[in-house]
Symmetry: C2
Subunit: 243 residues, 2 copies
């Protein structure tokens, strides 16, 4: 039997949700692992199963947990690749979707510019790492990415040949640096392409490009990566439903 610590004016299901979220952030379970069964949690916290279910329902709708009937309730492994596809439609002539190839153009340790420091919650000139990266489909450039990482937790990246790996960085962050991306905020804008990006993307000067700023966070909500991506507007399509 266990106690719920948080504010006792809150409903029990809310307090249990907060307690579980805290334990998830503290890595009590790893991504893909099952949390205890509803029955076990109801004994552990002396709550009815209905109340436990309601707490879990909240975490499921927040996409932190995932239920599988007959098997258990699991820590959700975020699927960031699909999010990229929400914004950019990278289609090959045969109409299939591919993860774009990745080519790291540069990798440097730098002092954080003011804007980067602010996004990552650092002080200006704190040590960071900057990656410049090109994404291609069938060797045609579709996206330029500028990626900023706090240097200390990610220093293993400096001694590693990123181009030897697959196109996805987040699995690498996890394997190489123990940093797990759990959520992200993205902001979309559009602008005219800059000279540098026009050359890299092979688009005419002044062409419209879409800009995506992404701040990625770990389970504790701390920023661990800030990236800005530019892609030609013709590759871009985003849909929402409004109620």
């Amino acid at each position: 039997m266990n106690m719920l610590s948080s504010d006792d004016r809150l409903p029990l299901y809310q307090r249990l949700r907060d307690e579980l979220a805290q334990q998830i952030a503290n890595n009590r379970w790893r991504a893909g692992e099952a949390i205890p069964t509803e029955a076990a949690l109801s004994v552990e916290y002396s709550l009815s199963v209905g109340t436990v279910r309601k707490a879990i329902d909240m975490l499921v709708s927040e996409r932190i947990l995932e239920r599988q009937q007959g098997r258990g309730t699991f820590i959700r492994r975020p699927q960031f690749q699909s999010s990229l596809f929400r914004f950019f439609r990278f289609m090959t002539p045969d109409g299939e979707r591919h993860v774009p190839e990745s080519r790291i153009l540069s990798k440097e340790p730098l002092p954080a510019p003011a804007e980067v420091a602010k996004a990552l919650g650092l002080l200006p000139a704190d040590p960071v790492i900057r990656l410049l990266r090109l994404r291609l489909i069938d060797s045609v450039p579709v996206l330029v990415e500028e990626i900023w990482l706090p240097r200390e937790p990610f220093k293993a990246i400096l001694d590693f040949d990123l181009n030897a790996e697959g196109p996805l960085l987040y699995p690498l962050y996890e394997d190489l640096c123990g940093q797990v991306v759990a959520s992200a905020d993205e902001t979309l804008t559009a602008e005219s392409v800059s000279e540098v990006h026009a050359r890299l993307l092979r688009v005419p000067a002044g062409a419209p490009v879409v800009v995506i700023e992404r701040l990625a966070r770990n389970y504790a909500g701390q920023p661990i990566e800030w990236r800005r991506s530019w892609g030609h507007a013709s590759h871009f399509r985003y849909s929402v439903e409004i109620r």
Copy 2:
């Protein structure tokens, strides 16, 4: 006491949700009105209150209903104005948000072009109405809108001076034509401004503009308006959270 009609292999809360959604689409209650209490529904359909609550929970999370503790559960009145602000930040110098003014530039009965017919679920050349509209803030144009309506349900609009009214069309659709917009799908893209729009928006030739296509539907899910809006990219900013 009442019977649930739909597929009896579905859970009861799901069938009640479908039954209530159907009645809402059929205008059993008007926007802003209360549906029967949970206790009344549980008697009417011979279900426990818990099951009724779960059906209502679904409709609340779909933003069709709205709960107010101590008062009742109400048909939600959609707030489309706020959705426009999600995409475009129209800020006056004092930093406040305003509903942009509206100037109807033209209003014509036309046969539906193929693309419009397809979006509205009509046949090509079926009768429609086309509005061209400019949105302004402090008399500065910020958005051009092309609006297509099926002619029959909206014919009252043809004899009405739209510029005599406020900047919002949806309340007008309701008052004048009995057409209620309940939801919408929006698609965002970006492109270089066309010659016509450059003049209307007073932006340089080739400037990047964001394009929003919106298909608006009534409670039964039938398309009742298709519109396309163009705005200068510098007014555009859209944020999402990814889990």
